[in-house]
């Protein structure tokens, strides 16, 4: 009788030692080039023990072996709203990515709204996405916070469930956050004025907190605390901006207040690569196949290649979708970036190691190196090719998907 639950624990819950063998293994280290006939050893602690050429990495006897034509690190989606923007698209039911009651709400935490059981999270996981940077969506001046977690987390109950529970504050400049009918902000100038006023208020609050005696601290204010984290550079302000003048406004704000800026989407970034490069600002680039309309009307499929050429650090994302399909898959966006001038290894890097780096997690995820999380995606062919399939997904040394996608 006791053997059954034990067996269950060993196979389904605890990570097992395992080996993964690939004809083409993308370690995503060094020059990012794949190696031929590679092996990754995953330890019982869910970490990578060893990774390299099959001739150099010996698979210990008795270890289960998973084989595939191509293996990459588990994919890292640098910006998603999965788990927040649910599959049904029903307001007040499964759409947690927006709270429209006020334009500035940095106090809204992603951890309090995430539903890891939403089918879209599973969908992404089955396509090899093992880590998502998710949270409040672009669409309000400040819509709330974002976080980073693995796609096998069904609900956030403890600190270890997330890689970073507070990854940034999401802001939107441009028509995406403008409102009509007498609501505010209604113009770009007003948007920036409101952001500046809020940052100035937060700065005063942060200074007051720092100077006050322990027993005379001002009342806690969740809003100002979150903005304070931005001002203290603990988290970036992730500004969704597509129009070049909105990107310029974001750069101006970051200079004035000294916060860490991440440009999100950035359809026009290719037009002002020099300025962005000079500012040292990373970009979470819009999906390659994003619709060329509205603020994104000038997007180009060659944007990723242009950013690469300009030496601007960037990652790819699935982004936020308001209708059908309810989410994109970052792997597909990488494939199309590769079809438009980005070297395939750079395209993969933009959804693995570069994305991990941009999110401050490159020591833990994004490449196949000893000590890192054993997150892997297995494919039956070139992962960037539309007709290939993701056939197996491993997170923290556990097989989490064996569906052919």
């Amino acid at each position: 009788m006791r053997a059954i639950p034990l067996l269950f624990l060993t196979t389904a819950v605890l990570p097992a030692q395992m080996a993964v063998r690939a004809t083409q293994l993308h370690l995503m280290t060094g020059d990012l080039k794949p190696i031929v006939n590679g092996v990754v050893l995953c330890g019982a602690d869910g970490k990578i023990v060893k990774a390299g050429l099959a001739s150099e990495v010996v698979i210990p006897e008795g270890w289960p072996v998973h084989e595939a034509a191509v293996v990459t690190p588990g994919l890292v989606d640098a910006r998603s709203t999965a788990g927040m923007s649910g599959i049904l698209n029903w307001d007040l039911r499964d759409q947690e990515q927006f709270e429209h009651s006020a334009p500035l709400q940095p106090e809204l935490r992603a951890v309090d709204a995430f539903n890891g059981r939403d089918p879209l999270v599973q969908w992404l996981r089955e396509f090899g996405v093992t880590t998502i940077h998710t949270g409040h969506a672009p669409g309000e001046l400040i819509s709330g916070q974002t976080m980073v977690l693995k796609t096998n987390v069904e609900s956030v109950t403890k600190k270890e469930d997330v890689l970073n529970g507070f990854a940034g504050v999401a802001a939107t400049l441009g028509s995406g956050s403008l409102k009509g009918e007498g609501k505010t902000p209604g113009t770009r100038a007003k948007s920036v004025a409101m952001l500046r006023a809020d940052l100035i208020k937060a700065k005063a609050y942060v200074e007051k907190v720092a100077k006050a005696e322990a027993d005379k601290k001002p009342d806690r204010d969740l809003h100002l605390e979150a903005m304070g984290a931005v001002l203290r550079r603990e988290v970036p302000l992730i500004v969704t901006a597509d129009r070049h003048h909105d990107i310029a406004a974001a750069l101006r704000l970051s200079v004035e207040f000294g916060f860490r800026l991440v440009i999100d989407s950035g359809a026009d970034v290719w037009m002002m690569a020099e300025e962005v490069k000079k500012a040292g600002v990373p970009v979470i680039l819009h999906p390659t196949m994003a619709r060329a309309a509205g603020d994104k009307e000038n997007l180009t499929f060659g944007a990723a290649a242009k950013l690469q050429e300009a030496g601007i650090p960037f990652a790819l994302q699935s982004g936020y979708e308001a209708y059908v399909p309810k989410t994109r898959v970052v792997l597909f966006e990488a494939g199309m970036a590769a079809a438009h001038g980005l070297a395939p290894e750079q395209a993969l890097a933009a959804c693995t190691i570069r994305a991990a780096d941009l999110l401050g997690l490159k020591d833990r995820i994004g490449s196949l190196e000893p000590g890192k999380d054993a997150d892997l995606a297995l494919y039956d062919g070139d992962p960037l090719e539309t007709t290939s399939h993701c056939i197996k997904v491993i997170i923290d040394g556990k097989v989490v998907s064996e569906v052919k996608r």
Partner: protein, 447 residues
């Protein structure tokens, strides 16, 4: 040289005018033609996917007078003397793509005054100068069914376009043998057409309204027949009823938006009752009722999406739809629903169908010949066969590979897209001026 604008409505005459135009102009190949003889172009050395037959390496495609004169393996095809031979070695040539469901050109059908508006024609609303048209050419599209949205039970008449270069919709619109504008009727069920009054609030009401409308059309049809051509006895003309009668008489195909299994079956039930020709569109849950679809003999125009969801009825969308329909022999096209999927990704959508288990042959057919069949245009486009319109696409590689690019798109023997031309490259890759200033409001895309 700019193509000569022809306003003559029939396709036959249009070709005649085109022939005259070709005789007078310097073609892009640089060959001066002054003797009035039609130019013969031979595209040689490419891998040809005729779709109607097996692919051939080192193929030869002979184009004359806007038509395909011959297509096949080198040696098996006679290259006419004096023809302009274009070296296509290393390239892949496929038929021009057919998109069976698109909203390019910003079409609109009925307004918010009621759920059933068969009298509205998208023909009267399309902006042929919208950048969505050159973007579609950049994606290799040559034939498109432009539809009104799905926010009505009956939202209006669709139009089949050839993506010729032209300044008016008349230059692009295809014509039926009787000279009428070629197109179907857009219908929808499920949640998109469920709205506040005067629209239906439930599925039951939706079906009742549609049935009542068809019954009314039958009465109208009877009155017209009873008049026996006597003008005095004819009922007052009713544009909506005239259109519905065309549907009842099988002269106009119903293009029916439908997602959920029960909604799909509702369409088939209505079709059983009224006997119209129907193409099922989107068909997100096709995999659940593929047997019923096959038994009914209905064709499907499906969409391939990067994920399910966005609304309840698309929750169970599955990439296997194409494969499941193929297994049962259902004529299946893959469409873009541009702007849901940009026209430039139509070939990629076919590749997604292949990812979902459809054979590569059927996947390519789904965006070419199958689409032509569903639009009743298989006699003139959709495959590389002698006698068909010279609608074809030159690719850099295999059609379903993400790395392949459209280099040239030809419609009726004229090049309408060339990646080498800066203005065309802009449309292919994006950049300033390539997109739409406004986000589409086609139901129910924007939110």
């Amino acid at each position: 040289m700019k193509p000569i604008v022809f306003l003559v409505p029939t396709a036959v005459l249009a070709v005649a005018v085109l022939r005259a135009a070709v005789g007078e102009t310097t073609e892009t190949g640089g060959r001066q033609v002054g003797d009035g003889k039609p130019v013969v172009k031979v595209f040689a050395g490419a891998r040809l996917h005729p779709v109607s037959s097996a692919p051939v390496d080192d193929g030869v495609l002979v184009v004359e007078d806007g038509k395909i004169k011959a297509a096949g393996a080198r040696g098996a095809v006679v290259i006419p003397e004096g023809a302009e031979v274009i070296d296509c070695r290393g390239k892949v040539i496929i038929p021009g793509l057919v998109c069976t469901h698109s909203h390019i050109g910003g079409p609109s059908g009925g307004d918010m005054s009621g759920p059933i508006q068969p009298e509205a024609r998208v023909l009267d609303s399309i902006d042929v100068r919208a950048t969505s048209l050159p973007r579609a050419r950049a994606g290799g599209l040559t034939t498109v069914n432009v539809m009104p949205g799905s926010g009505h039970l009956v939202s209006g008449q669709t139009v089949y376009l050839k993506l010729r270069e032209g300044k008016t919709i008349e230059e692009l619109a295809l014509r039926n043998a009787d000279g009428g504008v070629a197109g179907g009727l857009k219908m929808a069920n499920g949640t998109n057409s469920i709205r506040s009054a005067p629209f239906p609030g439930t599925r039951g009401k939706s079906a009742a309204l549609v049935r009542q409308s068809f019954l009314k059309a039958r009465d109208y049809q009877k009155k017209v027949a009873a008049a026996g051509g006597d003008a005095a006895k004819l009922p007052d003309r009713d544009l909506g009823m005239e259109t519905m009668v065309e549907v009842l008489e099988g002269k106009r195909v119903v293009h029916h938006h439908t997602h959920r299994a029960d909604d799909i079956l509702s369409v088939l039930r209505l079709r059983e009752e009224f006997g119209f020709k129907v193409v099922l569109h989107h068909v997100s849950e096709a995999w659940k009722v593929a047997d019923e679809i096959a038994a009914a003999g209905a064709g499907c125009s499906i969409i391939l999406l990067d994920s399910p969801g966005g609304k309840l009825e698309a929750r169970d969308f599955d990439l296997r739809n194409g494969a499941e329909l193929e297994k049962r022999g259902v004529v299946t096209a893959v469409h873009t629903d541009d702007p849901v999927t940009d026209s430039r990704w139509l070939l990629r959508s076919a590749a997604l169908a292949a990812r979902g288990g459809m054979s590569r042959e059927k996947a390519l057919e789904s965006v070419t010949l199958a689409g032509a069949r569903l639009l009743g245009l298989e006699g003139r486009t959709g495959s590389l066969e002698a006698g068909k319109d010279a609608d074809f696409v030159v690719l850099t590689g295999e059609p379903l590979s993400v790395y392949s690019r459209v280099e040239e798109t030809w419609v009726e023997g004229k090049k309408v897209f060339d990646l080498e031309r800066a203005e065309d490259r802009l449309m292919a890759e994006g950049g300033r001026g390539a997109g739409d200033a406004e986000i589409s409001t086609t139901c129910c895309f924007s939110k």
